[in-house]
C-alpha cells in the first residue's frame, strides 16, 4: 500500500528511482539525430539511383561494388589519411611544446593561456575564408611574405598547385586546432604530481630526461585520448576543403567527405553519396577501434 502511494501508481520503471526516465531525453536525441540518419543512409545505399530520371531501384550490392571499384574513392582515402596523419602530428608536437612553455607560473602567461582558446571559437568555415584571403596570390599576406622570402613564385599559387594545396589546408587546420591540443596537454601537465620530478632531479635527471622518462609516460593516456578525439575529427574533415579548394586543383585535396559532398550536391546521386559517407564512418570506426585496442584506452 505504502509503496504504491509513493510511486503514485506508476510502474516501477517509470519512477524517478529507475534510470530509464532519466536516460530518455538524451537517448531520444541520439536516436533521432544519430541512429536514424545512419540507418537511413544504410537503407539509401541499398538503392540504385538514376539522377536523370530521379528514380530508385532496390539493388543492395550495386553502390558498394561501385565504391570498391571507384578510383576516386581510393584516391580520397589516401588524401584523407595523408591529411589526418600530417595535421595530427604537427598539432600533437606543437601542442605539447606550447603547453610545456605555458606550464609555468611566469607573469603574463595567463594571458597567453586565455588567448590560446581564441581560434577554437572561430567557425571552421570562417577560418577557411580567412586563410583563403591570406593565401590570395595578389594581396594575401601569407603569399606576399613567401614571395618576399623567395619561397614562392606568383605563378604557383599555394592553393592552386597540386603539390602545395593540401599543405595550405593543413595550415588552417593546425591554426585552429593546435590550441585544443595545448589545452588538453596543459591540463595533463598541471595534474602531474610534483614529487616524482623532484625525485628524478635528485636521481640526476636533466629536464630533457625527466620529460622523456617521466612526463611522456605519465601523460600517455591523456595524449592517446587527445589523439583519438582529434584523429576522429580529422578523418571527417570537410569545411576547410570545401571553402578553400573545393577539392581542387583537380582532386588533389579531395577527402572522403568532400567526395561524398560532391557526389551528393553536384551529381545528386543521393544513394551513392550515402555509401561513400558510410564508408568514411566505417573507416573511422576501424581505425579508432584499433587505436583504442593498441593504447588500451579506457573510458
Amino acid at each position: 500500500m505504502a509503496a504504491q502511494a509513493k510511486s503514485g501508481g506508476l510502474p516501477r520503471w517509470l519512477t524517478s528511482e529507475h534510470p530509464l526516465p532519466w536516460l530518455f531525453p538524451v537517448t531520444s536525441l541520439l536516436i533521432v539525430f544519430g541512429l536514424y540518419p545512419v540507418l537511413y543512409s544504410l537503407w539509401l545505399s541499398f538503392y540504385k539511383r538514376n539522377p536523370a530520371t530521379r528514380t530508385e531501384k532496390f539493388l543492395p550490392s550495386f553502390n558498394w561494388n561501385k565504391l570498391i571499384g571507384d578510383d576516386r574513392v581510393w584516391d580520397a582515402v589516401q588524401v584523407t589519411f595523408t591529411y589526418a596523419v600530417i595535421a595530427l602530428s604537427i598539432q600533437l608536437v606543437l601542442g605539447m611544446l606550447i603547453a610545456l612553455l605555458l606550464d609555468s607560473d611566469r607573469k603574463g602567461f595567463g594571458v597567453f593561456r586565455a588567448l590560446m582558446t581564441l581560434p577554437l571559437v572561430v567557425p571552421p568555415a570562417v577560418t577557411g575564408m580567412m586563410f583563403l584571403l591570406m593565401y590570395d596570390s595578389s594581396f594575401g599576406v601569407i603569399s606576399n611574405s613567401l614571395y618576399a622570402l623567395n619561397l614562392l613564385s606568383p605563378d604557383k599559387p599555394i592553393l592552386g598547385t597540386g603539390s602545395t594545396a593540401l599543405w595550405g589546408v593543413i595550415v588552417a587546420d593546425v591554426w585552429q586546432w593546435t590550441p585544443f591540443m595545448v589545452l588538453i596537454m596543459l591540463a595533463g601537465l598541471r595534474a602531474l604530481p610534483r614529487e616524482p620530478f623532484e625525485a628524478a632531479s635528485i636521481d640526476g635527471a636533466s629536464s630533457i630526461q625527466s620529460f622523456f622518462f617521466l612526463t611522456l609516460p605519465m601523460m600517455s593516456k591523456i595524449i592517446a585520448l587527445a589523439v583519438l578525439v582529434r584523429g576522429i575529427d580529422l578523418f571527417r574533415i570537410f569545411d576547410y576543403v570545401k571553402v578553400m579548394t573545393d577539392s581542387g586543383p583537380g582532386t588533389a585535396t579531395e577527402t572522403l567527405t568532400a567526395y561524398a559532398g560532391t557526389v551528393y550536391f553536384k551529381s545528386a546521386n543521393f544513394s551513392y553519396a550515402s555509401t561513400v559517407a558510410l564508408a568514411t564512418l566505417i573507416l573511422v570506426l576501424v581505425v579508432s577501434t584499433v587505436f583504442i585496442k593498441i593504447f588500451k584506452i579506457r573510458f
Binding site: 625525485a199 635528485i202 636521481d203 640526476g204
Partner: protein
C-alpha cells in the same frame, strides 16, 4: 662523501618565515638527525640541502663549496621522501635502477645493485610490481632502495620510517644504522620520533618553530637539555615537570608546589621567590612502599598515590599522583602495587633539572 655546512640559512614563504637564520655543521661521515615536532621546518631545511627549495638567504656548502646555485641533479645526493615519490609507471626494479640508468651504468652492475638493495629491504618478491601494487611500507622500502643503490656524497632521509609497522620500523632502524656504519656516508635524517633520533644519531639537532634549539650527541642532550622544550621532547616516558616556587626554610632551599615540598640540589642557582620548572626523569625518581632511610635530603616528600602500574618486562612504570600532579617513576624491580596505595617518591638530586619559570631555559 662530503661535509655539509649551513650558514645563516633562512626560508620565507611569502610573508611567513619558516626558518630563522640556521647555522649547522655536519662533519663528513656523520649521522645527523633533525628532530622536532611536526611543522617546525625540518623538511624545508632538508629540501634546501637537497636543492629542491629556493634559498631565501644564507648559504649551503658541501665540502666548503657553495652549492646554493647548484642544481639538485648535480649535487650527488640521494634522498628518501616522506611520501615516497616513486615513479608510478615503473616497476620496483626500474624505480631502483633509475639513477643508474640515467648514468648509463653497465646493466650487470645495475642488476647486482638492485639485487643487493632488495635483499636488504626484503623486496625480492616485488621487483616486477608497480608501486600501486604495494603496501605503504613496501613503497617506503622501495624509496629507501632507490637511495641506497646510489653512491652519493650525502644521504637525506625525510621521515623514512613513519609509515612502517612497529616491528619493521625497529628492524629498518638497525638496517639504516648498520648501512651507515659500513658506508660511512654523511647522512641527514629527519624525524619527529625521539626514539629514532636517540638510537640512530651521532648528533641530534633539535628544532622548534624554525630555529635550532640544541644540538649534540643523543646522551649529551638527554643528560643536559638546555630548555624545558628539549627536556620534554626527549625521553619516553617523558621527564616529570612540576611548576614550583623556590622557598627557604631553616636555611634550606626547596621547590614548593602547593603543599608539596621538593628538595633542591645544594648547588642549585636559584633564588628565593623564583618561579621554576622542576624536572626529574622517571628513572631518577625512586618509588618505595616505605619512606627511604637513606634519603639524601633533610626533606621528606608527602606520599603519592598509585594510579597505574605498567610492567614492560625489563622495567615497571609506575604512574602516580603527587599533590595533584601526575608523575611517573621507573623501577627495575617487578612491582605489584595496586591503584590507590600510598608510595614514597624520592628524586635523585644529582639528576634534577631546573628551568627558569619565565624563559624556560635550563638553570
Amino acid at each position: 662523501m662530503a661535509s655539509v655546512k649551513i650558514s645563516k640559512l633562512e626560508k620565507q614563504y611569502g610573508l611567513l618565515k619558516v626558518l630563522h637564520s640556521l647555522d649547522l655543521e655536519i662533519a663528513d661521515g656523520k649521522f645527523v638527525v633533525l628532530l622536532g615536532p611536526s611543522g617546525c621546518g625540518k623538511s624545508t631545511l632538508l629540501r634546501m640541502i637537497a636543492g629542491l627549495e629556493k634559498i631565501t638567504s644564507g648559504d649551503v656548502f658541501f665540502d666548503d663549496v657553495r652549492v646554493n646555485d647548484v642544481h639538485s641533479k648535480d649535487r650527488n645526493i640521494a634522498m628518501v621522501f616522506q611520501n615516497y615519490a616513486l615513479y608510478a609507471h615503473m616497476t620496483v626494479r626500474k624505480n631502483m635502477a633509475f639513477s643508474m640508468r640515467l648514468k648509463n651504468i653497465d646493466k650487470k652492475i645495475q642488476d647486482e645493485k638492485v639485487a643487493w638493495a632488495s635483499s636488504i629491504l626484503g623486496l625480492d618478491d616485488y621487483l616486477d610490481r608497480l608501486p600501486k601494487e604495494l603496501s605503504g611500507g613496501q613503497r617506503q622500502r622501495v624509496a629507501m632502495g632507490r637511495a641506497i643503490v646510489r653512491d652519493p656524497d650525502v644521504f637525506l632521509f625525510d621521515e623514512p620510517l613513519s609509515n612502517l609497522d612497529a616491528k619493521l620500523r625497529v628492524q629498518m632502524r638497525t638496517e639504516i644504522k648498520d648501512l651507515h656504519q659500513r658506508l660511512k656516508t654523511t647522512t641527514v635524517y629527519v624525524t619527529h620520533d625521539q626514539i629514532e633520533a636517540m638510537t640512530m644519531a651521532d648528533e641530534v639537532v633539535i628544532m622548534q618553530d624554525g630555529r635550532i634549539i640544541q644540538s649534540g650527541s643523543p646522551m649529551e642532550i638527554y643528560d643536559n637539555p638546555n630548555s624545558l622544550f628539549v627536556a620534554q621532547f626527549i625521553g619516553s616516558p617523558g621527564m616529570n615537570i612540576i611548576e614550583c616556587d623556590v622557598a627557604e626554610k631553616a636555611g634550606v632551599k626547596s621547590a614548593n608546589h602547593e603543599s608539596l615540598c621538593l628538595p633542591l640540589p645544594s648547588d642549585a642557582k636559584v633564588e628565593v621567590g623564583q618561579k621554576i620548572f622542576y624536572g626529574i626523569r622517571p628513572e631518577h625518581l625512586t618509588a618505595n612502599k616505605e619512606p627511604s632511610a637513606e634519603s639524601n635530603s633533610s626533606l621528606t616528600i608527602e606520599p603519592g598515590v598509585v594510579r597505574v602500574v605498567e610492567p614492560t618486562g625489563p622495567e615497571t612504570h609506575v604512574y602516580s599522583k603527587l599533590a595533584g600532579q601526575d608523575v611517573c617513576s621507573i623501577s627495575r624491580e617487578r612491582i605489584t602495587w595496586s591503584p590507590g596505595e600510598a608510595i614514597h617518591l624520592q628524586p635523585d638530586l644529582q639528576h634534577v633539572h631546573l628551568f627558569d619559570g619565565q624563559t624556560q631555559v635550563a638553570l
